[in-house]
C-alpha cells in the first residue's frame, strides 16, 4: 500500500502529520515499537527540514510518502527547501565528556540508527530523503 500526506512547513503541523502516519500504521497492523520509531524518524526529518527552510526563508510544503510491503516500511520525505543533504553531517562524538560534547547533531544520528537504510537525492526543486524501516521489530539483522 502507498499513501502520500502533505503538510505546510510549520512546526504545529508536525503533530497532525505524525497522527496521520500513526493512523496509517495502526490500520496496517504495524507493531507499536516500530510505529514509535517511525514517529521519531518523522519528527527528526521534518524538524531538520524546517530548520533549513526557516534559515533560508524558503520551503512551502513537506510531503511524506509511506509504502508498506515485504516487511519493509518506506518513508519518502520531500521538501522544497534549498539543496540540503542531512546525511552529510558528520556523526556526533557520542563518547566525548559531557562538558565538551555538543548538544546538536543527534537527530540525524537517530535516523541512521533506527533505519535499515537511508538515502538522499535531489530532484529539483525537492530534497528527497528515503528512510526504510522493518515492520518486524525483531527481524533486524544486525
Amino acid at each position: 500500500m502507498q499513501i502520500v500526506l502533505q503538510v505546510p512547513q510549520e512546526e504545529g503541523q508536525l503533530r497532525d502529520l505524525v497522527a496521520a502516519i500513526e493512523g496509517v500504521l495502526a490500520r496496517e497492523g504495524v507493531p507499536g515499537p516500530v510505529a514509535h520509531d517511525v514517529q521519531l524518524v518523522t519528527e527528526e526529518v521534518v524538524c531538520n527540514a524546517l530548520d533549513y527552510g526557516r534559515v533560508e526563508g524558503r520551503g512551502q510544503e513537506i510531503s511524506v510518502g509511506i509504502g508498506i510491503r515485504d516487511g519493509l516500511i518506506t518513508l519518502e520525505f520531500r521538501d522544497d527547501c534549498i539543496p540540503h543533504n542531512p546525511l552529510q553531517h558528520p556523526d556526533p562524538d557520542l563518547d566525548a565528556d559531557i562538558t565538551e560534547r555538543p548538544i546538536g547533531g543527534l537527530g540525524v544520528h537517530l535516523i541512521r540508527q533506527l533505519a535499515e537504510d537511508v538515502s538522499y537525492r535531489r530532484e529539483e526543486p525537492h530534497n528527497i530523503l528515503r528512510v526504510v524501516l522493518r515492520t518486524d521489530p525483531h527481524g533486524r539483522t544486525a
Binding site: 512546526e11 508536525l14 514509535h36 519528527e43 563518547d95 562538558t99 560534547r101 548538544i103 540508527q113
Partner: protein, 127 residues
C-alpha cells in the same frame, strides 16, 4: 499528548523531578523553562524520574544534555530513573546518559548518590 513536569521538594543529596508525557520539539522548551531555576541554584544531583515519559526525540535529549552540562560544571550529575523501553532505546542510541547513571528505582539512585557522597567525604575519590 503533552508534557508534565513535577518538581519535588529537595531532600537529602538530591533533587527529584518527575517528567511525564512527551518530551519533543513541541514541549522541550517547557522543560527548559521549569528546570532553569532548579539548575541555577541546585548544589546537588538531579534525579529525573521518567516512569511516566512515553516519548522523547532529539529535542528532548538536548534538554537533558543542557541539564547535565549545567550540573557537570559544579560537579553534580543527572541521574535517570525508570525509563520505559522506548526511552531507554533512544538513550542508548545517542548515549544520552551513561549506563551507570540510569536506575530502575529512586531508592537505587539515592543509594548511588549516598555512596558517591561518602566517597567524597572520605577523600577516597581518586578519579
Amino acid at each position: 499528548m503533552s508534557l508534565s513536569v513535577q518538581i519535588e521538594s529537595a531532600n537529602g543529596g538530591s533533587q527529584r523531578v518527575a517528567i511525564a508525557g512527551r518530551l519533543d520539539t513541541h514541549t522541550y522548551q517547557e522543560l527548559d523553562r521549569q528546570l532553569a531555576p532548579v539548575l541555577e541554584t541546585l548544589n546537588k544531583s538531579l534525579v529525573l524520574d521518567l516512569a511516566g515519559l512515553e516519548y522523547i526525540s532529539s529535542a528532548g535529549v538536548r534538554s537533558i544534555f543542557k541539564a547535565r552540562k549545567a550540573l557537570a560544571a559544579r560537579g553534580g550529575k543527572v541521574l535517570v530513573v525508570n525509563p520505559q523501553p522506548q526511552i531507554q532505546k533512544v538513550f542508548d542510541v545517542v548515549k544520552a546518559v551513561p549506563m551507570n547513571e540510569i536506575f530502575s528505582s529512586v531508592a537505587e539512585a539515592d543509594a548511588y548518590l549516598d555512596a558517591m557522597q561518602r566517597k567524597v567525604l572520605e577523600g577516597d575519590d581518586n578519579e
